[in-house]
Every structure is written in C-alpha cells, then in structure tokens.
C-alpha cells in the first residue's frame, strides 16, 4: 500500500547551523548569451534557468550583457547605492531611538532598485515594493521628504495617513507603496495597458518579493501582461527570505521564479541581483523589448536580504547569523566599487570621502526633516485633516464626524487649560 506524504520545505540551514547556498546554481559571469530583444519567449527559455552575470570574481565586466556604461555613470550608481545604504542605516538607528515607529532596510539588495531606476526613462512609471527605496533616490526625491514621511510630520507626503516607508511621488512617476503585498503587480500591468491604448512610448515596471509571488496578484499580472502583451517589466526580487519563510515556501525549490515567465509565454530572465551591470543590462533589454511592442518580461533578481525584514523582526531566530557573509553573490556595493577601482576610475580614498560626504548629507537631511515635526514634538499635522481625501468632495457624514471631533478636541483643550494653575476657570 502506498501512502502520500506531505513535503514541508526546510531551509538549508537554521540558527547555529552552517550556511549552505549549494541549492543555488551560479554560472560564471559572461556565460549567458544575450538574445535579440524581440526574440520569441519560448526560444529563450534558458534565460530563466541560467543567470545573467557581468561582473566576474576579479571585478571585470565580461560577456555579451556588458552594458558598457561610462565610468561617470558607474560612479553615480555607486553614489546612489551608498546613499541608499547610509539612509537605511540612519533610519534604522532613528527607529531604535524611538524617533520613528518602524523601518525596512534594503541592505544587500541596493543594486536592484538603483540599476533599474537608472536603466529606465524618467517618464516610465514605477510600481515599487517596500524594499525598493533606491528608486526614489535615483529619481532624485529629497531624503528630507522620505524622512518626513517616516516621521508623519507636517511635510509628510501622506499627511500622516501611512506608516513609515509607504512613500509615493507623483511628479517622479513613482506609485504608492502598499502594505498589502503584490497588489501593485497587476496595477502596473493596467497602467501599461493604458499607455498602449493611448499610444504612448512609456512603459511600467513593478517589483515584489519572491515570497509574495505566491499571491494571486502575481498570476493576474502575468496573465494580463501576457494576454495583452503589455509594455511592462515585472520584477521578482528573490532575496531568499520572506520574514522567516525561505524561498522554498513560495515554490522556489524546484523551479526558479524566472522560469514561471515562459509558462505564461513571457520571457523569464534570472539575473545576479547583486551585479549592478547585469541588472542594468537586463532591464535595458526588457525595456527595449517593451517599447518595441515586444511585450512584458519577468525578471528574477537573485539577491540576499542582509538585514532583518523590518525593525519588528529578529532574523537570528530563524536563520544563521553568518548567512550574509556566506552569500555567494557578495555585496553589490563592494562589487561595483571593486570594478571601478579595477578600471582605474575609483580609489579607497575617493570611496572614504564619498561615504563621509553622504553621511554628512544624511545628517543634514535628518536635521532639516525634524524641523517639520517628529512623533513627540515640533509642529504637528491637524487631526481634522484625517477626514480629507477619503472622497474628492467631503460628503455630509464625514463633515459631521469632523465637527464632532473638533468640538471634542476643543472641550479637551478647555478642560486641560482649566487644570493648569493660573489657567482659566
């Protein structure tokens, strides 16, 4: 008699065990061929099982995917990645000091947002996830604005309505981050469909983690993108961990996430997510394809979430502390830095000076951001504003509720004033 047995995935290593990334197949840099941007999806299926890599172990840029960027562009990229990292570090510290309620770092995966942000056109619409803050940095959103959002202060773009990091930037063509995961994926497809309906050359891009690729929204996005050949780039950032669930719990044990693309008739490209040049090149390839009516591309970025999921998370409880050091694709910042030094366009001295400059910039931005108010002091938003923007025009029932809160607040203020010695009453 046979009996079925449930397979419950286990990560290769738990706390106290030796990190083991032998499950990852990592071909050498320069190994993958670069097909024509309009190659049929099913003829390039191998892009979903291999891994596009440009930077080799010695920091050289090799192979057909080398985007041949100017050194100045690479220096800008390094600056954006480092600024993202310094910003993250500062905000994490501010959370630990109780200055903000919550934060999420992108440490170790900065190359994804920065390379893609740089590879796309400013008019392209970005539908970010919560760990792609590098997109805002590439597009030039002021850190003061991002910090003010985290502080829910008077300069907060969300007017105190969202927890930290749920940024948006309409002028910068960056959509609003949702705490409900994966919802932005099919929305990006709808945006791209509209661009095609209107006959524009703008495209959309969206990001989600490998964990949330299990949501129905992933399937909806891929289906709609494939059916209408929408001009969209759909990115799965496989950073190996979804809070405490390793990528096997999203179905990553037997197939790569990129391999799902061809199942829908969409090219799936697996890329070394810690290789700035590779991510940049793959994004340019997908963008060219989308703009030329070649349809959508699914990109899997293989990277590692070096930090905790969020400030509310403690990864030492579910994965070995040394995993990040053992991660075979290294640190995206160090790899781009080594490449720049290797081609004679960077130095340790310049790097140290840049770090100092960025740290001072972050400090100055924080000092300015708190002048617009913090959770505990300084100017505050008017609570009456909470009734605005539920609808375009405020309906009667919300006006009534606002008046109720207004009288209640006035009564409380009057009572408080009466208790103060020398106060009225």
């Amino acid at each position: 008699m046979t009996q079925s047995r449930l397979h419950v995935p286990h990560p290769p290593a738990r706390p106290g065990e030796t990190p083991d990334f032998s499950y990852l197949e990592i071909p050498p840099a320069g190994h993958e061929p670069r097909p024509d941007t309009l190659a049929p999806a099913l003829q390039i299926e191998r892009l979903g099982t291999g891994m596009v890599r440009v930077l080799d172990e010695q920091g050289r840029a090799v192979g057909p995917w080398n985007p041949h960027l100017e050194p100045e562009e690479l220096q800008v990229a390094l600056r954006h990645m480092l600024l993202t990292r310094h910003f993250d570090e500062r905000m994490q510290r501010m959370q630990r000091q109780g200055r903000i309620s919550f934060y999420m770092k992108s440490t170790g995966e900065e190359a994804v947002a920065v390379a893609q942000g740089m590879a796309l056109q400013p008019g392209d619409m970005l539908f970010p996830s919560y760990r792609t803050q590098g997109l805002f940095i590439v597009r030039g959103k002021s850190l003061v604005d991002l910090m003010s959002q985290c502080l829910s202060n008077t300069r907060d773009m969300c007017r105190g309505r969202q927890m930290p990091i749920m940024y948006h930037w309409a002028e910068g063509n960056i959509f609003s981050i949702s705490g409900n995961l994966a919802t932005q994926f099919p929305q990006a497809v709808g945006w791209a469909m509209a661009a095609a309906i209107k006959g524009e050359d703008r495209i959309a891009a969206s990001w989600m983690g490998e964990g949330s690729s299990a949501e129905a929204d992933f399937h909806h996005a891929l289906t709609f993108a494939a059916v209408y050949q929408a001009p969209v780039i759909l990115n799965v950032v496989n950073n190996q961990w979804a809070i405490s669930s390793f990528q096997g719990f999203a179905g990553g044990e037997r197939r790569t996430f990129a391999q799902r693309g061809p199942g829908y008739g969409i090219p799936g490209v697996r890329v070394d997510g810690n290789d700035f040049l590779a991510v940049y090149a793959v994004t340019r390839w997908a963008a060219e394809r989308a703009r030329a009516s070649g349809g959508p591309t699914l990109i899997e970025h293989v990277t590692y979430r070096a930090a905790a999921h969020s400030t509310s998370d403690d990864p030492s409880r579910y994965r070995p502390k040394e995993e990040w050091q053992a991660w075979p694709l290294g640190d995206p910042v160090k790899r781009l830095k080594a490449h720049l030094i290797g081609i004679g366009e960077w130095s340790e001295e310049r790097h140290a000076a840049l770090e100092q400059e960025l740290e001072a910039h972050v400090t100055a931005c924080w000092k300015e951001a708190v002048t617009y108010g913090t959770l505990s002091d300084g100017p505050t938003l008017d609570p009456m504003s909470m009734f605005e923007d539920v609808f375009h025009d405020m309906p009667a029932h919300l006006k009534r509720q606002r008046e109720e809160l207004r009288s209640l607040t006035a009564a409380q203020h009057a009572a408080a004033a009466a208790k103060v010695p020398g106060g009225e009453g």
Binding site: M125, F127, M157, C158, R159, R161, Q162, M166, H168, A170, F175, S176, S178, N180, T183, F185, P186, Q187, A188, V189, G190, W191, A192, M193, A194, A195, I197, K198, A204, A216, D217, H219, H220, A221, T223, F224, V227, E388, D389, V390, F391, H392, D393, P395, A396, H397
Partner: protein, 338 residues
Amino acid sequence: MAQMNMVQAINSALDVMLGRDQRVVVFGEDVGYFGGVFRCTDGLQRKYGEHRVLDTPIAEGGIVAAAIGMGVNGLRPVAEIQFADYIYPAFDQIVSELARLRYRTAGDYCAPVTIRTPCGGGIRGGQTHSQSPEGVFTHVCGIKVVMPSNPYDAKGLLISSIEDEDPVVFFEPKRIYNGPFDGDPHKPAVPWSTHPKGEVPEGHYAIPIGKAEVVRPGKDVTVLTYGTMVHVAEAAVRLAEVDAEIIDVRTMVPLDVDTLCTSVSKTGRCVIVHEATRFSGFGAELSATVQEECFWQLEAPIARVTGWDTPYPHAFEWDYFPGPARIAAAIRSVMEAR
C-alpha cells in the same frame, strides 16, 4: 424620448460616455465581441474598437487591478464583474487599493473606476448568481455605492458614476433588467415599456449620486428601499392598503439622510426593505440612522424586511425572497404598533 429596458439604458450610458470621453474604456469577461452575458455592452466593441471595449481573462482581481492601473494612467475605466457573486476575488483590490488610493497618497493619486455588477436573485441562480452584497461595500471608506431601480435612473446614475472623481460600485438588479418585477413570479412578465421610467433620453444626462427619490408620496408610513424591492414594495403597499411613502434610496454611499429622515419625521413610521440578508445588512445602517435622526418622531419600532440569513437557496427562492406579502405584513404591523 426612447423606450428602453434597463439593459438598453445601461448600454446607452456606456455608448454616450465612450462617445463623449476618449478616456472611457469598458472591459470585463465576455463584454467585448459577445457584448456581455446580459447584453449590456452589445455592439460597443464594433462601434468603438477593441482598444476601448475589451474582453478580459476570467480573473476579477486582475480586472479591478488593471482598472486601477488604467485609472492612475488617466483613463476612466468601467469594469464589469459578470455577477456580484464573483466580486470577492477582487475584494482586496477594491477595499485595500481602489477605495484608499486617494487617501493614502493625500490626493496625489486616484483611480476613478466604475465597477458595474449585476446583483440580486429571483432568476433561479442559486447561491452563486443571486447575491446582493451592497452592504459589504458600504462598510468600506472611499467608494460610492449605487443601485438604480429603473432604466431612467440606471442611465443617469451610470453616467454620473463614470464622470465621478471617486470609485463607484454600481449594482444592477438583474431581475428588473427587462421589466419592473413586482415580486410575484407567477404573473406574466411586465416590460419596461409599460412604466414611465422606461422612457429614457437618447443623449447625455446625469442623475446626481447621493440623492434618494420619493417614488410614491404618502403620509402614514415610510418604506425605505432600493433596487428590485422598490417595485415589490409598491405592490406590497397596494396589498396593505396603506398610504405609504416609498423612498428609493438609489445611493447607499453617500446616503441622502435628509430625504429619508424628512419622510420618517413626517410619517412617524418606517419599514426598511432589501433583498440582501438581514444581519449587518445595509438596513441596519438605515435603521440606526433613522433612529438617531428621528427618534422623537417615531410612533412605532422600525421594521426590517429582508432576505433570510441563509445563502440564497436554489429550490426555495420564493420562500427566501422578501415578497409583497411579507412586506405588507410588516407595514400593517408597524401601523398597528403604538
């Protein structure tokens, strides 16, 4: 004026808006080439092309998500969910995304999406083709909820919904697509051509969202209702032989409290009727509102007549349906209470 049934009136509203506004796009399952399972989009793809009137995959969550993305990109999407019973896979996109986008971005982003969806029973649809989930959506902050009861209102309210800056869930009571059903399934069907609200202008006109209508003035008791039940309530009032004032709520969010409460304050009695289930149904909100606003004018407890708190049963739909006899009994009981 043309004679239209509700399907034709909805088709006409979509036609008018597709013709007037290049931003309007219409899509959903079977709405394109075929023209919709209830024919509401018949002929529109031929007229406006398949970039503006589209068939979609069978994925309600994907349909609403795509509508949101299109709305953000400057279009005015009108998405059809084939049956209101199928809307739940899209619930997260409606509740967490569509309804709150303007709020969470402090007005920087919005998606003026209209979701049309046929609702209600009495068509032998069983529990998966008969539901009236309007109450569920009235509990969500940031969407407007509309249900017309006749062709004239359907066209005017649908045009208003498409022109509205906010998302609207537009419920179409499918039992009255072809005629004003009075609750008696054994009587021959009556077409809309026999009803004054079956006269519908060909061109553009709007009926404001947020305005109820007194469909039968009266002095003894107020009946608050909407959708199919407006016509059933009219039959019930004839049966009860009471001078009742019947109010078609038309818009659940935002609610026209003034019209409702002016009437109840005048009559001092109130019966609330809807086809949806009772517990936490929209009638509970109506009842609470009337109690808060009109308590001192009330002569009797407010009564609710609704679908029973069971799924919509296929074989027993006329036992389930809150027909004229049940409504008439409630009206009499409210009239007797002192």
